[in-house]
Symmetry: C2
Subunit: 291 residues, 2 copies
Amino acid sequence: MTRIDKLVVCGVGLIGGSFALALRAAGLVGEVVGVGRTPASLAKATALGIVDRATDDWADALAGAGLVLIATPVGQMDGVMAAMAPHLAPGTAVTDAGSTKSDVIEAIYRNLDRQLGQVVPSHPIAGSENSGAEAAYAELYRDRKVVVTPLPENDDGAVALVRQAWQACGAQLFEMTPQEHDRVFAAVSHLPHLLAFGLVHDLAQRANAEQLFGYAAGGFRDFTRIAGSHPEMWRDICIANRQALIGELDAYLAELALLRAYLLSGDGGSLEAIFDEARTARNAWANRKED
Amino acid sequence: MTRIDKLVVCGVGLIGGSFALALRAAGLVGEVVGVGRTPASLAKATALGIVDRATDDWADALAGAGLVLIATPVGQMDGVMAAMAPHLAPGTAVTDAGSTKSDVIEAIYRNLDRQLGQVVPSHPIAGSENSGAEAAYAELYRDRKVVVTPLPENDDGAVALVRQAWQACGAQLFEMTPQEHDRVFAAVSHLPHLLAFGLVHDLAQRANAEQLFGYAAGGFRDFTRIAGSHPEMWRDICIANRQALIGELDAYLAELALLRAYLLSGDGGSLEAIFDEARTARNAWANRKED
């Protein structure tokens, strides 16, 4: 891939910071400029050497930029794109790291309609319950999947640059339509997060919450790990993808209604059949992942 | 604690096998005898050195036994106790490792009503999605909680022996009523298992299941780890504790109904407030556990 003389990262947290560190480690970037809404976060990213400098001036940031990664919570991307639009020159490719794609693409058409050739949506399937620049590391994307959902209007060169940048981070590249992407991730990511947040919230409100947490063990720890995730980021994802998420939640509620009926009637055989199918599917998946 | 000349373990899997290995490692047992329904499992436990010998004859097993641990799935305990009853002498203490207590205690009153002094119910809060004798290890109970729910009829000596045996395994001892125990574990253990089994089953039945699992990542892995648990064991737990479990499931369904309403109305503020409370509670718990 061509060296990027100037990389701009908007939102220098775990995702944006790791992208910058990975490209820097690969020797593929010159200057790295951070843009963000929180001066303290930008100062931290600068102190950690993730960005060379920070600015809140998009004209300054975008002047001569080769690539921009927007890595804010998805709810902020509309405003970020509106601020970028007047200063985005034809030679600058743009991508994002949003966990939802339909809403981000709506924001692109709304704000960057004169620059559609150069804005290529993407979603790295990587993350952690840890957030912030201090959690960033160059290897975050190593062997992880990145889904690119190119627009019909995208220039081949911009798509190639965005793909190459993620590949340089060590990621495996995939392409899907935005709609397909949002349905898949509602099922395997957004719903589990909602369920984990909901369970912990349910228990935390009880009069005997301290007793309950006192006896929670390893299974509970793993099941609820994702309830330690960033509330604002997940608020934005849930709202942005709420149509697909409600569909997945309703399918899950139907599953729970079935399980409840089996419990109520004492139908152990049907419960065991479901548990057995789940275990088989889960273990087959986990073993395949380890290959 | 007094040395146990003869220890009997009924059900030599992860739980029973680890108990035997821990007491043997502590030098506190003489002969260890395994009892079980599956000859292959007993042969494996013998080959692994977890038990010295195996038998299906309760008269033989119980002759001169100092302590018996019943570590079968809870659905089998009624039958096990019925088989033990004619051969259980006054000098033998009995405990169990069942994850539910009300149903086990019903089985005790039903089958061992002439030996109530010596049968002390317990529940070690330890386990794994791995099962079987090959998963057993002596350190499983180190720094784990064991809840003892003594019967009013229990002899002090039997309670002391059971407590000392678990302490010798490295466990921390707690006491609760059976009803309180079953409510607490419905909330923090049985419900999460049901939810994880349900999610994986829901997804595994889809026409695009392979695609979905293909994009599932680390959050999904942790959330569903307990869906790899033993189906029969969890069938028994769910059925045995279904009254408390349905109560917990209904509370959770109310929580999901609330989350669904916020999604439907696009109320991001309320979602974020719930996510934030959940994250705070979850992180406070996880940090306390690490102390």
